[in-house]
């Protein structure tokens, strides 16, 4: 008995050691989080030092990501999964993290003289840590905890400019919707636990392969869990918070929410579906078979069509650019859900390619919105008249990002759409592809409004050129150049996504 116990403890410690070594990037982020609190106490006067420390934290985490051996295994007793799939999304979070900190440096609304920026960067790190954990979580409770870590940080960040009324409104709305969504989700998790007797996705999967009982409670529980994911990726009908929060939050945070937070939602949703509901014995096959009788294909397809269509059509009537981009991000969630609907490796690859391109163009678009707001103090479409002539660089960059969001070649956005449509057509869901392409035609109508106002109106206005520093300008190029480059030579992107689609499911 004694030896058995010591054997058990020995295994326990060995697993802990191994897992902690692989857990290094997350530990770095957590350390940076704590360090930032201290740095903030010491250097309260400086606006940028905390941001620089946050960047260093991201940089060290990136190094650990790169040097850590490619490993596909469980960590922490099946709570955690280390696999290429989660690594892909972790890189997405890191790139977004760098981007959001850099963008925040150039924001006038954030860097007001009477504001301390310490907590801001601290919370960004905390949010990123939550995303890291959620993309690797293999257990429903861990998923829930990571989701809350992300959410709590983002509630505060959304209302960080608290002297602006709409920011406080955004934060409050976000909290209420978030609380409701996570409440429903935990309710779903509890039903799943009651049905299956486990919280591990892999054991749920094993349970479902033998499950013969009624399917109804299973559907209800799954749909309730879906509410949590749908809220994170802002898919219709869980999108109601999105426009208000995106409009009210500081631009950098809006960009971060629309890319990284959405990516985290997709990562966990995709893992939830594949690890939980796909027959693992032939998961590497071209078409996956489901272990339960829940028609996920249909459910996700409905979400996808609703998100695309409602997102795009409502965006047509928006007069605020941030709000318009919020609806556009709902529509993009719909496009990406098309890739999930397919339920194959190819579909997942398409979603991952799309995410990278979406990261570039959406961050770019929001960044331009922020630089413009810095100068003209407005995000209203009406105030964009003639801006192309006041700043040809921003006007051109914005046109490129929006064309990319529409999905026209030769931009990265086209590549993303191309793979999504390929995946959908190859699985014979042609109706869905038709809905998708018609939606991109609709989306052109509102994206075009922005560059219409920037270039077609106010041609002869003699207003002063927009001012921005040379570094701000360099960051614009940092988004524009890859958007164009990956639109023409996207092979590395596909290789990366292809090698990252492998998801560890215990077999």
């Amino acid at each position: 008995m004694d030896s058995l116990l010591s054997l058990f403890i020995g295994q326990y410690v060995a697993d802990l050691k191994r897992s902690l070594a692989l857990f290094a990037p997350e530990l770095v982020l957590a350390t940076a989080f704590v360090l930032l609190v201290i740095v903030d106490l010491i250097f309260q006067k400086s606006k940028y030092i905390t941001g620089v420390v946050a960047l260093l934290g991201f940089a060290v985490a990136t190094i650990f990501m790169i040097v850590s051996p490619a490993n596909t295994s469980f960590g922490f007793w099946q709570m955690y999964v280390f696999d290429p799939f989660s690594n892909f999304f972790k890189y997405i979070f890191l790139i977004s993290g760098f981007a959001v900190v850099l963008i925040s440096f150039f924001s006038n609304e954030l860097n007001k003289s009477d504001r301390t920026m310490g907590e801001y960067y601290t919370l960004i790190l905390g949010m990123t840590l939550g995303m890291f954990v959620i993309s690797s979580a293999g257990n429903l409770i861990l998923i829930y905890l990571a989701l809350e870590t992300m959410s709590l940080s983002s509630y505060v960040l959304a209302g960080y400019t608290k002297e602006i009324k709409r920011a406080s409104e955004a934060s409050l709305k976000y909290v209420i919707y978030g609380a409701l969504a996570s409440g429903l989700m935990i309710y779903g998790i509890s039903i799943l636990y009651g049905l299956t007797g486990t919280l591990s996705l892999f054991q749920i999967n094993a349970f479902l392969t033998q499950y013969q009982g009624p399917v109804f409670p299973l559907v209800v529980a799954s749909l309730l869990v879906l509410v949590g994911f749908g809220y994170k990726i802002s898919a219709v009908p869980f999108h109601f918070w999105t426009p208000d929060v995106y409009e009210g939050a500081p631009v950098a945070i809006t960009a971060y929410l629309s890319v990284a937070s959405k990516a985290a939602g997709f990562a966990v949703f995709m893992r939830f579906l594949k690890a939980g509901f796909i027959d693992p014995t032939n998961a590497s096959e071209q078409v996956w078979t489901m272990v339960s009788s829940i028609d996920w294909k249909f459910i996700v397809a409905v979400l996808s069509v609703l998100s695309m269509t409602i997102g795009n059509f409502v965006a047509l009537w928006q007069t605020n650019v941030k709000r318009m981009l919020a609806y556009s991000s709902i529509a993009h969630a719909g496009y990406m859900l098309m890739g999930v609907t397919v339920m194959t490796e190819g579909g997942y690859i398409a979603v991952m390619i799309y995410f990278f391109t979406y990261l570039l163009m959406n961050f770019g678009a929001f960044y331009v919105v922020q630089l413009i707001a810095n100068e003209i103090g407005s995000e209203e479409l009406e105030d964009y008249n003639g801006l192309g002539y006041r700043s040809p660089l921003l006007g051109t960059a914005m046109a490129i990002f929006l064309v990319s969001l529409t999905g026209l070649p030769p931009t990265a956005g086209f590549v993303g759409k191309l793979y999504i449509f390929q995946a959908v057509i190859n699985s014979n869901m042609i109706w869905l592809a038709v809905v998708g392409v018609l939606n991109s035609v609709v989306s052109l109508a509102y994206y075009a409004k922005v560059f219409r106002n920037m270039w077609l109106r106010g041609v002869d206005s003699n207003s002063a050129p927009l001012k921005y520093s040379i570094y701000a300008q360099l960051l614009v190029y940092a988004f524009v150049i890859p958007t164009l480059y990956y639109g023409i030579f996207w092979t590395p992107l596909v290789f990366w996504a292809k090698s990252s689609v492998m998801m560890f499911i215990g077999k």
């Binding site: 190819g346 026209l408 449509f421 592809a433 018609l438 075009a448 219409r452 077609l456 041609v459």
Partner: protein
């Protein structure tokens, strides 16, 4: 194949505008009045230079073109071919190997179009002198548009074709939207959305074809043996193949445009600045019919047989409806000469459709020749409208009269263009229309007889316009000089820059009226080969 600085002629001619854009970008805009003027002139002449080099290269290609090689679906008989791997991804789950090639080459179908594009882009730079604002942006967009159009005509990889096809949309949007007329915003977005609507279905068909064939190579798609069993477009005359053909047809028909997809055209043409109207009518519309012949026809030959009656009918309706609308410009609304010519384009592109549907050597040769001739003639017509509009700031049909006395040289050039548009023997338009009717009569006698009414109507609206504007009495308000300050227009008559744009086209129109062989010979063998492909496809389908 000859090369230019080691670069293949087609790559050179396609990407030369990119070099031009970089040069334009480097030209400073100038501080005071004088340097600003210099800068603008520099922008203009650099563009003229770039497009002139393009024209020279196009003529070199023409001189080296072998008319005996068939092309169309035979990879070995394309000319000036360049083939480089562009995207190559192996072993993707679901997608398999993804290979996209930078594959360009020309045959008898595309050679006339390359020539036409180079010619029109060159002459339209001269009519760009009338552009009055944001010159740098204008010429950069102009060159980007040039690049896209040239690329469409040389691409032999469907993916490459699609990229070039979409690449033109954005510059065209800005060119209409920034430098256009009063309703420019509406016209620009209508054009953009309409065309995108057409092309997204092309994208879906392209992806479907890729899965069925395993490559984006257009020539591979034309060979039925390449279709893998069980894929979506495999087989003959399956529902999906017919649907795909219709989707492609609609995408291309929007660009042509044929009735009932023509409604963007009057808006876009009327609102666009003169040089852009010239390019729209001269080149862009041809991309629609070219796309049909390059993509839709050889890949889905049996669907052509299936739908041919409808295509002929659409051609007839376009001819008559376009002509009636043009005639209607004499009666209703603002009596806009530019709108009249825009509608005449619908009618004249209808001849092309009718000629294509004839599916015989005469009809198809006539159709492609008509594409070329319509390009040159309508380009002239729009420039002629531009000349009078720049001076009088109106183009109402009933606001002029007796211009022949005030502007004799202008009237002379105008007469060439108007009579060519009517189809007067001795000018190029006559040959192509005669060929179209000759070919179409053999296949669809009734439709052809009705379509011939279009010629009568065409004569009516053109001659009526001629009479109203150029003969009779000059209205009091135009009796003085066009520009009292004498700064912009020293003489009443057409000036040198405008002549530089119009005269080359007039020469081409007259020359091809006498020696049509200069262009027709380019296409004969390809045309016959294409007809053979479509006929064989039709027989397979039991038609």
């Amino acid at each position: 194949m000859f090369t230019i600085f080691g670069i293949g002629p087609l790559t050179f001619i396609t990407f030369l505008p990119l070099l031009g854009m970089l040069i334009l970008l480097a030209i400073p805009s100038g501080k005071d009045e004088k340097t600003k003027e210099t800068s603008i002139n520099l922008l203009r002449w650099v563009t003229v230079g770039i497009t002139f080099i393009q024209l020279v290269v196009a003529l070199l290609i023409y001189a080296n073109f072998r008319t005996d090689l068939v092309g169309v679906n035979d990879p070995n008989s394309f000319q000036f071919v360049e083939k480089v791997k562009w995207i190559s991804v192996k072993g993707l789950p679901l997608f398999g190997d993804l290979n996209i090639e930078y594959f360009v080459g020309i045959d008898g179908l595309s050679a006339p179009m390359v020539l036409l594009t180079a010619l029109i882009c060159f002459v339209a730079t001269f009519s760009s002198w009338s552009i009055k604002k944001a010159h740098k942006g204008y010429f950069m967009m102009y060159l980007l548009l040039d690049l896209g159009m040239m690329g469409v005509f040389v691409a032999l990889d469907f993916f490459l074709f699609y990229v070039f096809w979409e690449l033109m949309l954005l510059p065209m949007y800005f060119l209409i939207g920034i430098w256009g007329g009063p309703r420019k915003e509406y016209a620009a977005i209508k054009f953009f959305i309409y065309t995108l609507f057409g092309s997204v279905f092309m994208l879906l068909v392209m992806i479907g074809l890729y899965f069925s064939v395993g490559s984006f190579n257009l020539l591979d798609m034309m060979n039925p043996a390449n279709f893998k069993p069980g894929e979506i477009f495999t087989g003959f005359q399956t529902t999906w193949r017919l649907v795909a053909f219709v989707a492609l047809f609609v995408g291309f028909a929007i660009k042509v445009p044929t009735v009932p997809f023509h409604t963007w055209l009057p808006d876009a043409h009327v609102e666009a600045p003169t040089p852009i109207s010239v390019i729209l009518a001269g080149i862009l519309l041809k991309m629609g019919t070219y796309g049909m012949l390059r993509v839709a026809w050889p890949i889905f030959p049996e669907a052509v047989a299936y739908f041919n009656n409808y295509i002929a009918f659409i051609g007839m309706v376009s001819i008559i409806y376009g002509a009636l609308c043009a005639l209607g410009q004499h009666k209703v609304g603002k009596r806009d000469l530019k709108k009249l010519i825009a509608y005449s384009s619908v009618s004249h592109m209808g001849y092309v459709m009718l000629g294509i549907s004839a599916l015989n050597s005469n009809g198809l040769t006539g159709a492609i020749f008509q594409m070329f001739n319509h390009g040159t003639i309508t380009a002239m017509l729009f420039m002629i409208v531009g000349v009078i509009y720049d001076r009088a700031h109106t183009r109402g049909l009933d606001e002029f009269g007796g211009l022949a006395n005030k502007m004799p040289v202008y009237t002379g050039i105008m007469a060439i263009a108007f009579f060519a548009a009517i189809g007067l023997p001795g000018l190029s338009g006559f040959i192509s229309e005669a060929l179209v009717f000759l070919g179409a009569f053999a296949t669809y006698p009734v439709l052809t007889v009705i379509s011939a009414l279009g010629v009568v109507l065409g004569a009516a609206y053109m001659l009526w316009a001629l009479q109203r504007m150029f003969f009779g009495k000059l209205p009091e308000r135009w009796s003085g000089p066009w520009d009292p300050t004498g700064k912009e227009y020293k003489h009443d008559d057409i000036n040198g820059i405008e002549l530089a744009a119009l005269v080359p086209l007039a020469i081409v129109v007259i020359f091809l009226g006498v020696f049509p062989g200069a262009v027709v010979n380019l296409m004969t063998s390809s045309v016959n080969h294409l007809i053979e492909i479509v006929k064989i496809g039709g027989q397979f389908a039991g038609m």
